[in-house]
Structure formats: C-alpha cells, structure tokens
Symmetry: D2
Subunit: 143 residues, 4 copies
C-alpha cells in the first residue's frame, strides 16, 4: 500500500488577507499553497533554496484551485501538501486546505512546476540527476 | 456565427509583482484576472458593485491558470476577459493574457463564481432575475 | 522602573515577499507590523476581534518605517511590538524587526490607529471605557 | 519662484485592495506610492530600469504615510509624486494621494531611497555622475 509523501503546515489567516466580503480573498490561497509547498520542501529537501543550489529554478506553469468553504480572519488552517509522482521533468503537488480544528476541507488545489537551468533559463526536458536521486531516496521510503 | 462578449483591459506589470526569479510571481495573475473581470463588469454592468446593488455577492469557487510565458517588470499586457455562457446560476469567465505589442499569449485562465444572497449569504440555486435579464440583453446582441 | 508591554512574534520570510532585488519588498513590512500587532493583541486582548466585540474599528492613520538591513527569502525574524502609552484616544505601537538568531535590528517602525464606532464610523474623541479599563489592567502591571 | 518637478498618475482602487473594514488596507498605499514614483521615473528618466541601466539599485530606507481619508473599491485617485531636492546621494520623493474628482487629499507620504552599486551592492556615499547630470538637466528647468 502506497503512502503519499506529504506535510501538514499550520497557518493563521492574516487581517490583510480578508476582503470586503469578510472572507479571505481567493488570490491569497496561491500564497498559502506556496507556504505549504516550501514547508514540504524544507522538510524533504526540495524547496527553492535546494533547487537553486542544484542549479535550477522551478517556475509554476499551472495552478488550479477548487474552493469549498470560505475562511475568515484569524482562522487556523493546515496546508496539506502532497508530492505527486510523475515521470515528467516536472514537480507536481496536490493540496488540501483543512480547518485545524475540524479537519474540514476548505480548498483543494494542484500546482505544476517545470525546471529551468538557473544559468541559461533553458527548460529541462529530462529529470535532472538530483531529482532522480531525490525520488529514489524518498519515494520508495514511503511505499 | 457567435461572437463572444469580451473586453480587452490594459495593464502594466508593477515592480512589486516581480519575484526573485525576475518574473511576475504566479499568484499575482489572479489579481490580473480580477482587474480584467471587473473592467468587463464595469463595461457591461456585471461588476461587484452591480452584484451588490442587486443584492448578491459573487465569490470565486474555481480558478485555473495555465502559464505559457513569463512577464517582467513594466511589461504591457492586455487581459482579454470572455463571458462564458452557462445555464447554471454561476458566472464563468475565460481569460487570455496577451503581450500588448505582439499579442503573444502569456497565460490562459478560467474562473467560476457562485452567487450568494448579500443578506443571508444563501447560495443561489437558480439564476437571479437580474442575471437572466442581463443575459437576454447582452448575449443575443452578440450573436 | 517602567517595563514596556511588548510581545515578540516569530515570522519566516515567504518566497512571494521577495522582489527582483532579491530582498523583501519594503511594502511587505507593513504586513509584518500587522502580524506583530495582532499577535500582541491576541496575547493582551487588544486585537481587531476585541475591538469589534467592543464596538470599534481601529484604522491606521500613520505608518513610519525606518529600514536598516534587508531581509532575504526564508530569513527568520522576530517582530517586537511595544505598546506606547498615550492619553489620546489612539492606539500607538512601536516596532523593531530583529533577526531571530543575532537579534540584529532590521527595521524600526511605528503605527498610530484611531478608534471609530463600528456602527456609525464616528471618530472617538475620548478613550472608550474598555480601553481605559484595559490600560488600568495592563499598564500598572508592567511597572 | 521654484516649481516642483512632479507627476500626477491615475489609479483605480482594485477589489483585492479593500479589507474587511470596506476600505483600502493601509499597506497597499505603499504600492500606490511605488506606482506613482515609477510613473514619475518613466516620465523623467529615473525609474528602476534607468537606475539598473546606470548600474544602481535604489532600495527604500524610509517610508512615512499620513492617512487623512479612506478609499473604497473602484475609487479613482491621483498619485502626485514630487521630487525633493537633496545634496545627499539619496532619492527623496513626497506624495499626495488625491481623489480624482474633488482633488481632496487622501494621504500624504514620503519615501527615501539610497543607491547601491548593482554589482557589489556597495552603498554610494556620493551622488553618481548620472544623478548629478539628471539634476542639472531637470531641476533648473523647473525653476
């Protein structure tokens, strides 16, 4: 049975993230995903710092968000970030935003990143060696 | 032949929208879509002010972005916002972000909004009369 | 000897707060101040929720920031928020942003808020009773 | 009689800039100042692109904002950016945010920037030649 490689990252909704509808403005969720993804990356060695140290940038090429419930100022949430395995030279993550107390699902999302050479900005058409090693290390460990 | 109801809205990339990769941070595109959608709404009478005047809020329940090219500080872009007809009590828009000079497609996107009663926050399961009238007015006019 | 009523609140610089100079964009510090001020308010009972429960809004009328050092992605900082006593019907806070490890001062700042009736939005020309009680409770306690 | 070198730049308040008080969140004004300052810079040849082309970065070291009136969604404003002459190797600007229709002053502000070498990030202790030339060109012209 396969267990997903994932991380739960806690967040508190900030005053300036709430719009005139008294709920978190939908665009701020993109930042929440990034906070979750980077917390995942710091935990497992795949954050922007690691990418840059390996000579790569990881720009986002797709974001999809499916909002289920609204969030209000000072709400406590958990960003659940899950690594999605792919043979493509991409980083794919899926996300669930959960209320910290009830674990109610507030939002589901998905991001896709490509890898560029930091130097030349050339798109990578094959997974870089460091990523293959990273997967070999982490993905079997979670089977 | 059906012509889509759409609007082109010009924008200039701001310094504070560019991240450490020297490109516009992907989350800011959600704001660009909103600027385009609201410009459309002011033009055709379907912006947040109109919704509120009719007694409704229009929160976003879906956003999907497909990034094709990156944007840099001071780039001139056009947000092309297109009304997508649906019989559901929702507002659906599709978007293309274009370079103002070359019309190259930088990003394609889609948003879905539901309608809530401003008073009770109750989800509307049928299109409100004002929306039906709005469609009767605008959609045939564009056939 | 008077001890100031203050709180230290930890923050981590987010990727999307860093601009093309590779440092935190100066405008994001205003959000850092608010995070510190609200953490102080939750600790001592003077946050936006408390103000609203008492029937008041607390809009900002002055912000001043004096930047000493720059911040980079993933830097750990502490927002030190200090309540500044005044007889005026205002909330004044001073701030120091410190590196979490070295306690080096990164930024000094100050904000001033007035109090409005939540109902009428009328400016308060005298401190509301709850604020006087709050001060009686907390300010002597810190002498 | 000295006439100030200044520019008026029009802006429209965006939906996502308005907070739960139904007014523009105070931190967003820092972005408005930057939009005004950069519009001034594009007009007179002193924007971030020019600085970089000359080999300099211009990070902000001071921001002060004095809020007089609040702004609401879709309000039309003018950012009046005025160059403040100084013999120091700094760029100082003062600002007034005005309602576009009544010219009522909404906010007064001031920013100070230092100049760093783009290459070495070394602080400049004397005005770079390009800045002296720029002043010789523009400042007498406005007497």
């Amino acid at each position: 049975m396969k267990t997903a490689l994932q991380l739960l990252h806690p967040l508190t909704v900030r005053f300036n993230e709430v719009d005139s509808y008294q709920i978190v403005w939908h665009g701020h969720y993109v930042g929440y995903l990034e906070e979750g993804r980077e917390a995942f990356g710091r935990q497992y060695g795949l954050d922007y710092h690691r990418l840059e140290a390996e000579g790569y940038l990881g720009p986002i090429i797709e974001v999809a968000l499916d909002y289920r419930k609204s969030l209000r100022y000072s709400d406590q949430i958990l960003v659940e970030t899950t690594f999605v395995e792919t043979s493509a030279p991409k980083l794919i993550f899926s996300y669930r935003l959960l209320r910290a107390d009830t674990r109610e699902v507030v939002c589901k999302a998905r991001t896709v990143q490509v890898l560029l050479s930091k130097e030349s900005r050339a798109l990578q058409y094959a997974p870089p060696p460091f990523l293959t090693e990273w997967k070999n290390h982490w993905i079997p460990a979670t089977l």
